[in-house]
């Protein structure tokens, strides 16, 4: 680890100063969407991974198919920091539309790589940025006759040039090509050729730069996958058989991945028949309705959506809560409200999900921090939904869902069985066991249910969204209604011990201040804690992994004078939940909020917390 960027250098605007960093820098590609840049950019990230150096790429893309600006930001970090750092060390500026904005993002002493086919006036550059011009269009035009090839191989060519500049092993890229174009030798050869053209040009014409990739061994057995694929696979392993969904960014790829994995792993080898049913429904209301119907009838079912879908599903969510039907919803959050920012990330559906639907409702929420937990929580949500007979939400977001992330490998135990919850069997009914669909017989608030068709004379009941007595008979009697609502609260208490427990880190109570965070904020938070620590600012941290909050969350808050709640929304939605559920003095919970649609950075968190601390204690320490 040889990252050197003293704060002083960063403030100098001296052309001679240049950023020198090995295995610790940020490269950003500015492209036009639909130009085929995505696969070249992904190859760039993967080739560095193959050299044993952790990377975390992020797509910043428009809600559009062709012609609008798109970016791919790759953080290279031997230390394994996977959050966004903030700032850009090398900008690969391939989009004239965004040139000016892209230029300003570069750190002083950083680098600008661009297509120099058309000369640009000096005013288009910065004095404190090193410029690397390569006539990509000219080279492509003279090499390829076909227009599409000219476009596509431009991307591969800059990949070749960057591999020379940064010292990325070309063999690793070639191996990746070989894996990608297995059986398509023609494509393989043409890609290798374009790569070589790029490399040759860079070797002959471009000056060396201060950013380098050096082979390391810090990737280990980690896998590189996005959260939507991971959650889909979690649903396959977790035994989901019915998926009903409606296309919506950023969740569509989850349903599509579920389909793909089902086709591969869920076809009965003997009969060729499918052990799954996937419906692309007419809308989100129908999606959740199908999930409710399937859950009622004993199949594990889920839907996947984003904020607007949650709004539409609300009525059914209330029905599933009140009639006690297992439902799993995966909400890949995006920028709201309304259509909001469909291709940007946020954690802004927390309250909408926690209290979805009219009347008194509360719902179980799980907050995965990365694809590994997306897999685990998706499978666990299906268990929890059956166990608790209620809707369970997995709240991921676009940052986790649609970006490939280095994450711990998926884990499964073949001895693991599904928890189907309290289902009364035909034998139990035959033996005369008392069946009260909404009766609390075990003292945990969870009643027994029967699947339709179980027994000829016993166990049938009428499911409804209206109030009922413990034997599922329609009733508007006050005591019946109150019994039921109180039982649902008891069930809520039971849920606290069943959901994933929070992760605590820190000083076992010595620190005066604490931090609470959740979901995709996690990697940036970990790094921010280290940044603050360098400044002798020590904080205890608690990562909330589920709602309802286990008691330990309340204890954590009470143990600290002040708790920062870091979130990616405007209104501090988790903070509101904490205040509401624990009855805590709001003054003790300080909101640290980042909600411009980009993933939160370590610098932002460290800066914001550091500033609060400075403001509170003027003689105190200063964060970076």
């Amino acid at each position: 680890m040889t990252a050197h960027r003293s704060p002083l250098t960063a403030h100098e605007s001296d052309l001679r100063a240049r950023i020198e960093a090995t295995n610790d820098f940020v490269v950003k590609f500015a492209n036009v969407n639909g130009s085929g840049s995505a696969s070249a950019n992904e190859l760039f990230a993967r080739s560095i991974l193959r050299m044993g150096v952790p990377v975390s790429p992020r797509n910043i893309f428009p809600s559009n198919i062709q012609g609008l600006p798109t970016w791919y930001e790759v953080r290279v970090s031997e230390r394994g920091w996977l959050g966004r750092r903030g700032g850009v060390d090398l900008m690969v500026a391939m989009n004239p539309q965004t040139w000016d904005a892209d230029l300003t993002e570069i750190e002083p002493g950083g680098y600008l790589f661009y297509d120099s086919t058309r000369p640009l006036p000096a005013s288009k550059f910065r004095d404190d940025v090193h410029v690397l011009g390569m006539p990509l269009t000219a080279i492509c035009n003279r090499t390829y006759a076909d227009a599409r090839q000219r476009q596509l191989f431009k991307n591969i060519m800059y990949l070749g040039a960057l591999s020379v500049l940064l010292g990325i092993d070309a063999d690793e890229i070639q191996r990746l090509f070989a894996e990608q174009y297995k059986g398509k030798e023609k494509l393989l050869d043409s890609n290798v050729r374009a790569l070589e053209l790029g490399r040759e040009h860079a070797q002959q014409h471009l000056p060396p730069i201060g950013l380098h990739v050096r082979r390391a061994d810090n990737v280990g057995d980690k896998i590189f996958v996005d959260g939507n694929v991971a959650a889909a696979l979690g649903c396959v392993y977790g035994g989901a058989t019915v998926c009903a969904w409606y296309p919506i960014t950023p969740s569509s790829s989850l349903a599509e991945a579920f389909q793909k994995y089902c086709m591969k792993y869920r076809v009965d080898p003997e009969t060729g028949r499918n052990r799954f049913a996937i419906v692309q429904a007419e809308d989100e209301i129908a999606s959740i309705g199908m999930v409710v119907g399937a859950g009622w009838n004993g199949a594990r079912a889920f839907t996947t959506t984003a904020g607007p879908g949650i709004s539409l599903m609300s009525e059914f969510i209330g029905l599933a809560y009140f009639a006690e039907i297992p439902v799993t919803l995966i909400d890949v959050q995006r920028g709201g409200p309304s259509t909001g920012m469909p291709t940007r990330t946020q954690q802004s559906d927390v309250l909408a999900c926690a209290y979805a639907s009219h009347g008194d409702t509360k719902h179980v929420l799980l907050f995965p921090e990365d694809p590994h937990e997306c897999f685990e929580f998706a499978a666990q949500a299906l268990d929890l939904a059956d166990r608790l007979q209620t809707p369970v939400f997995v709240l991921t977001d676009l940052d986790i869902g649609m970006n490939q992330r280095l994450t711990a490998p998926f884990v499964w135990d073949d001895a693991r069985d599904y928890d189907r919850g309290k289902v009364m069997t035909a034998e139990e009914l035959e033996a005369g066991k008392d069946f009260g669909r909404y009766k609390d017989v075990d003292g945990d608030g969870i009643p027994y249910r029967t699947y339709p068709g179980t027994h000829a004379e016993r166990g049938a009941y009428f499911t409804r969204g209206t109030s009922r007595d413990p034997y599922a008979r329609y009733s508007e009697r006050g005591p019946d209604y109150v019994y039921n609502m109180e039982r649902l609260l008891k069930k809520w208490d039971t849920a606290k011990s069943l959901v994933p427990q929070p992760h605590l880190r820190g000083t076992s109570g010595e620190a005066r201040d604490g931090v609470i965070y959740y979901g995709s904020t996690s990697p940036a938070m970990s790094e921010a804690i280290e940044l603050l620590g360098k400044d002798s600012l020590v904080l205890d941290t608690l990562r909330v992994r589920a709602f309802p909050f286990p008691d330990v969350v309340g204890e954590f808050i009470r143990r600290h004078e002040r708790v920062f709640v870091v979130e990616q929304n405007r209104d501090g939605q988790l903070r509101t939940l904490l205040i509401n559920e624990f009855g805590i003095d709001p003054a003790r919970l300080v909101a640290i909020l980042h909600y411009d649609g980009t993933p939160v950075t370590a610098r932002f968190i460290a800066g914001a917390i550091g500033e609060r601390v400075r403001r509170a204690a003027p003689t105190g320490r200063v964060a970076s």
Partner: protein
Amino acid sequence: MTYITKPKLHHPTLACNAIGFTRRDYEGKISTLCAGCGHDSISAAIIQACWELDIEPHRVAKLSGIGCSSKTPDYFLGQSHGFNTVHGRMPSVLTGANLANRDLLYLGVSGDGDSASIGIGQFVHAIRRGVNMVYVVENNGVYGLTKGQFSATADQGSKSKKGVVNTDSPLDLVGLAMQLGATYVARGFSGDKTQLVPLIKGAIAHKGAAFIDVISPCVAFNNHAGSTKSYEYVREHNEAVNRLDFIDVRAEITVDYAEGEIVDVTQHDGSIVRLRKLSADFNAHDRVGAMNYVHARQAKGEVVTGLLYVDPDAHDLHEHFNTTEVPINRLGVKELSPGIAALEKINAGLR
């Protein structure tokens, strides 16, 4: 929905069907609908049809939305699981339930408000998908439970009880169902049980999306002069295109008909729907012809009833999805989890 417990006394001479059940065994709670409500006659027809078909009550799942009609599943098949869902959304819940367990009989009961207004989208798409179900709309042209507002099936120019004239065009559910690919489409009248019971039986035996529009007068809010959904109006304007006899697989065909008068339709399970033609120029196998016929008669103020269209070789959603014969709600971790070995391969492929 009632507090009154129904006595469980059985008359010793009540006839039993082949599986030993009396008609009483197919009943539910006492109806709380208005005396004379058409919906109660439909419940009685469903009871009769299930009893005659020797269906085990617990093998039926009855689902509904919200409204007077949607309350009725509580009044029949007390030994079946029932689900009174949310307004207009019964079709999606039924679809999901059907996917979970293909072995049950799915009976969806809805009204014209529930299906033609708030739920028209779900009605349309459940039909399109070919969900194997019996979908009954108890159609009275009016919102009963909220006291008399027009529904989307109310005819243009018809008058409400308060004297308001409906200016909107009516939505024609049978026409829609035929256009959308329903493979069994019928229209009945709650006042004609002899016609309705075989229509329901044929629908139950049908494998695919079966839809029955039953004109079912609302005695409280839509049975007055000027209404086109009143008993009197429908009796006067009912044009039955055929008479249906439903012949069970096991039953012997004994009745003789004059040649040319009857058409036998053998359904998927071997049962036969025998149509006695009442209209010489109507053919229940001709979807487009049937749509034209119904619409032409409708334009003249007639209400065409009978079996309007049937495709005996229909396919259902499970066939489209190629799902296992074993209901998927019975599959366990052994059949569903690909296992550690596969996961290790997946992990390796992501490095």
